[in-house]
């Protein structure tokens, strides 16, 4: 039985453990107005070891395991150092699937994304959402079919954003 997808509950645990992170990917795109549903949340953590120690504690609370396509999840032992050692983790957790990426395609990671990130709340929890332009940049670079499908709507949303900012 799949857990109910509750991205708000996932970010609440991350924030409670003091993790600095940016939400990007399909969930962020949906929040901006894309109509493509997604079943995971993509986060980009700040890469210093103190932050990754908080992330490790949050992943323990979320009972995160390694997600395998079509198979049972694998146990996931981790600490700050091991989390820093791989640029991408695909996980399944208590409140749904969670992808952790230090450098999403087309970006240089947290420091790159945080400059233009937007502060929002998810279920009352304050989080940083990658900017629409950065989500588009990342999806263009990733270039998978599902990314390309999302792009026309995201570009139109960005054009609307830019038009609405003009005096």
């Amino acid at each position: 039985m799949e857990p109910e997808f509750r991205p708000d509950a996932i970010v609440e645990v991350l924030v409670r453990h003091g993790v600095a992170f940016i939400v990007i990917g399909g969930t962020a795109a949906y929040l901006y107005g894309s109509n493509l549903l997604t079943e995971d949340i993509d986060v980009v953590p700040q890469g210093d070891l103190d932050n990754l120690a908080g992330l490790s504690a949050a992943l323990n609370e979320l009972d995160a395991r390694i997600r395998l396509p079509g198979g049972d999840p694998l146990p996931f032992g981790h600490d700050a150092t091991s989390l820093a050692g791989s640029i991408f983790w695909k996980l399944t957790a208590k409140h749904g699937d969670l992808d952790i990426s230090h450098r999403p395609s087309g970006t240089a990671g947290y420091a790159d994304l945080v400059r233009e990130a937007v502060s929002i709340t998810m279920g009352g929890t304050p989080v940083q959402l990658a900017s629409l332009a950065d989500i588009i940049r990342s999806k263009e670079a990733a270039g998978r079919d599902k990314d390309r499908r999302a792009l026309p709507v995201l570009r139109e949303l960005l054009a609307q954003q830019l038009r609405s900012r003009r005096p």
Binding site: E4, L31, N35, E39, Q160, Q161
Partner: protein, 98 residues
Amino acid sequence: MREARKRGGLTQQQLAQRAGTTQSAIARLESGRTSPSLEDVQRLMRLAGFELLIELSPLDDSDRSQIERETPFEVRLSRLIASTNRMRQLRQEARRGA
């Protein structure tokens, strides 16, 4: 323009220096607060190391019609959670019925 600058590995300051303008002018252009001419955009993209290509494609209004304007993030979040979980229920029902 922002995409080209970032792909070119340039800061706004570096692009401004190449273009003989100020960092704040580049920031205004990238944020959409000023509307550059097509020639200006082409010039800046070349300075970032890229060529701007424009192509004609058939009009597809479906992208626009799919966009909901100014829906609060929390409302979108509730909709995502409800829709995703409903989709999963339907998928499980379909698997059981197959």
